[in-house]
């Protein structure tokens, strides 16, 4: 079974703090993704990576950065957390190509006070 793990299920941070969210997958997938999910807005892509040290901006990259130093690990960084970044963050991984799916972690629910 594919396993995608995220470092925390729940996180509470203060405005202005630097926040690190870590994601690890065990299936040697080339692609990894970070999404945020908010009620009524669905899944919105923040960043994705198609190889080590490679990244591309998604639909809402502002206020976020990412790091992929190893194939199995993809980190999301909130440089200076703000209250509008309170959300559910979901990491996914998957092989490249047509018809290939994405496998999701359990999510991190982040509250920024």
């Amino acid at each position: 079974d594919v396993k995608v793990t995220q470092s925390s299920r729940y996180l509470v941070k203060r405005t202005g703090e630097k926040v690190f969210l870590e994601c690890v997958q065990d299936m040697d997938h080339e692609n990894m993704f970070w999404y945020r999910q908010d009620p009524g807005l669905g899944l919105r892509l923040i960043y994705f990576s198609y190889d080590v040290k490679m990244k591309e901006k998604g639909d809402i990259p502002e206020g976020y950065s990412v790091s992929r130093e190893k194939k199995e690990r993809f980190s999301l960084i909130l440089e200076s957390a703000s209250t509008n970044q309170t959300s559910m963050y979901l990491c996914a991984s998957g092989p490249p190509g047509a018809g290939k799916t994405q496998y999701f972690g359990p999510g991190t629910r982040l509250l920024v006070l």
Partner: protein, 111 residues
């Protein structure tokens, strides 16, 4: 206009009913269409997917795509309380194979 439109619901039906969940999309180039199920406080998981137009059946679930009208459907027969979840449709993008997500429909099956 969003690339994928999906009614967020909630849709509440009695146990045993046939459920119909639907999406519309705007890009005629989409070829693969995924359905994900997401239980409360969990990540989405792939339920099934179809390629191009037609039907695909898996147990109580049937996915249907009508490319001429850009309409995607998921049917659930003999619905169970355990089917209560949010269902997300996600056509696959053409240029970089990303998934284009609908907002998800919350489904509630009442015992």
């Amino acid at each position: 206009q969003k690339e994928v439109e999906q009614d967020p619901g909630p849709l509440s039906v009695p146990e045993g009913a046939i459920v119909s969940l639907n999406c519309t999309y705007s890009n005629s180039a989409f070829q693969y269409f995924m359905w994900y199920r997401q239980y409360s406080r969990k990540g989405p998981e792939l339920l099934m997917y179809t390629y191009s137009s037609g039907n695909k059946e898996d147990g109580r679930f049937t996915a249907q795509v009508d490319k001429s009208s850009k309409y995607i459907s998921l049917f659930i027969r003999d619905s169970q309380p355990s089917d209560s979840a949010t269902y997300l449709c996600a056509p696959q993008g053409v240029s970089n194979y990303q998934l284009i997500w609908g907002a998800g429909t919350k489904l509630i099956i009442k015992p």
